[in-house]
Amino acid sequence: MKDSLVIGGVELSSRLFIGTGKYADHHQMKEAITTSESQVVTVALRRVDMDSEADNIVNDIPDHVTLMPNTSGARTADEAIRIARLAKASGMGNWIKIEVISDSKYLLPDNQETVKATEVLAKEGFIVLPYMSPDLMAAKQMEQAGASAIMPLGAPIGSNKGIRMKEMIQIMIDEIKVPIVVDAGIGKPSEAAEAMEMGADAVLVNTAIATADDPINMAHAFNLAVRSGRLGYLSGLGPISKKAHASSPLTGFLG
């Protein structure tokens, strides 16, 4: 069964996106990307050191993946736009994950500023994937502004708490036409599978893999979980019944 996801004209057979922060070293990161079989890898422009051959993180990202630079560190739409342009000018392609965070305490995204940045960058020809707090109206505005996919958080970033925003994300999956990528908060492979079973188009994982005792095997585990969750979704999960069905129904006498 062919089941591919198309974003920005790129056909993806893997629905697991990977982050690059928090690894103990670049070699480990590279191995984890390989085992995850991910085809989309996000990297913070703030961490990219173009002047250093040895320290440049981009050199350790396998060539076959689509690079998705992110605007980590941006506190306003304007800063996100400037970071996106710098990324493009540095030869990192035209995908951009917009992250606008003006809250250093919980690191929650600012949806309003994110909508503004999405609009400007989509017009400039970027493939824009905004990271956001799950909210249907904001998601619709981002879609309208030209977002190629929308990335709601499952739980606060780095929290490993799972899909705490489940109801809101489900509504977005049901109502938004562009792909929904659940980003942030996924702590376990089973939670990635859960997002996929809900009908999310993809998930993005960083902390849970990068800070695992064995990041390389954890990347593999997430790869399997995402594929398994997707297959479950496609196969048509049965409706969940709250009670067991009685073998002797109450209305059996009616024949």
């Binding site: 690894y23 103990a24 670049h26 703030r46 050191d49 506190r75 250093s104 490993n160 902390t207």
Partner: protein, 368 residues
């Protein structure tokens, strides 16, 4: 708004009694919590909590890894000038100390920048003695033109400035502000800062807030440990950081734990702060402020710094010179204080990798 109002409230607490009354059971209860109150923070700084340092360390390590990953950000200080108008009894740059003073020319700054950049360092902090005449905004703006060619993040640790002055420097590429209150006890503060504008306790106390208001991306504060009871000083530093973070959500608030080092005066620390004490202050602060940056400088010995790496530290300096022009001429003139860890950037990077930490050299990109 000012932290001074909060400080006056804090000063009404009977610290000795509060710290002594903490029981083992109180500590155990706090260790089960995810979000710590001010009272919980005090509990972790108490003598009773000394029995739980390992548990605190495990938790601190876990939280830090979760939020920052297995990474350590490296930076270096760049001393621009040692002219100073203050008398601080514990500092070699104090105006009373007689030594040939120096301020770097633009050519000399470029020379220092090249040497630091060649080590692979991308983040620097500009330091000077406190002299508005010598480390003026005009001079700093000139310096930034040179430094922006070499570095991706430039912080400031100079005399306190007004909000508008900080705004001007932010517009020219400064993104971080470090300012230590030195001591939160106003009486002790008055006794060791005897001359110069630094005598104005409240102006200094409000400095990090002016920086945050002016749009600094990061603000780093500290008490100089050894000037007053470290438990009380660490408690107030943590509350000051929390106050700043609550009021300036956009700013990353960080804390440091500088211990007094030998200097050119004859000042002796009032209080002995042991390694164990410093570790407790660091761990309690991490648990109270889970996302704050925590810096450990080369004031500490290599052996001790190595042990601190997994305990919650997120930023380290390396191969630091505390001398104006010290990277170009390592043996020159007067240092601000003696450093203990003289290892090169390369050695520190190798050590971090061996300990399972990725040395992060670049973590910002100047946009202005």
């Amino acid at each position: 708004m000012s932290f001074y109002t909060k400080l006056k409230e804090i000063n009404t607490l009977s610290f000795d009694e509060l710290f002594e009354n903490v029981t083992n059971r109180d500590v155990e209860k706090v260790l089960k919590k995810d979000r710590l109150s001010e009272q919980d923070f005090m509990t972790l700084l108490s003598p009773a909590a000394e029995n739980y340092l390992e548990e605190m360390a495990q938790k601190s390590h876990e939280i830090t890894t979760q939020h920052f990953g297995k990474t350590m950000q490296l930076f270096l200080p760049l001393y621009l000038s040692d002219y100073c108008v203050n008398t601080c009894k514990y500092c070699s740059f104090s105006v009373d100390n007689d030594f040939p003073r120096r301020r770097l020319s633009m050519e000399e700054i470029e020379q220092e920048a090249k040497i630091i950049a060649d080590m692979g360092i991308k983040h620097i902090i500009l330091l000077s003695g406190e002299s508005r005449m010598h480390s003026s905004n005009a001079y700093l703006k000139e310096s930034l033109k040179v430094l922006k060619k070499y570095f991706s993040s430039i912080g400031l640790e100079i005399q306190p400035l007004d909000t508008e002055e900080y705004q001007e420097l932010v517009d020219h590429g400064i993104d971080g502000l470090t300012v230590y209150q030195e001591v939160y006890n106003e009486e002790i503060y008055a006794g060791i800062h005897t001359k110069g504008p630094k005598r104005d306790f409240k102006y200094r106390l409000d400095t990090p807030e002016r920086g945050a208001f002016a749009g600094m991306r990061s603000v780093n504060i500290a008490a100089l440990l050894g000037l007053d009871d470290w438990r009380k000083e660490s408690f107030i530093t943590g509350l000051h950081a929390a106050y700043l973070q609550d009021n300036y959500l956009e700013t990353e608030v960080g804390v440091s734990f500088p211990r007094i080092r030998p200097n050119a005066g004859d000042f002796q620390p009032k209080v002995d702060v042991t390694d164990k004490n410093l570790v407790q202050a660091l761990l309690a602060s991490r648990l109270f402020l889970p996302r704050s940056g925590i810096t450990i400088s080369t004031r500490e010995t290599p052996e001790f710094r190595d042990q601190l790496i997994p305990l919650g530290v997120t930023k380290m300096s390396a191969a630091s010179s505390t001398v104006v022009g010290g990277y170009t001429e390592p043996d020159a003139t007067q240092s601000q204080f003696e450093i203990s860890d003289e290892r090169s950037v390369k050695e520190v990077k190798e050590l971090l990798l061996a300990k399972g930490y990725q040395p992060v050299m670049k973590d910002w990109h100047i946009l202005s």
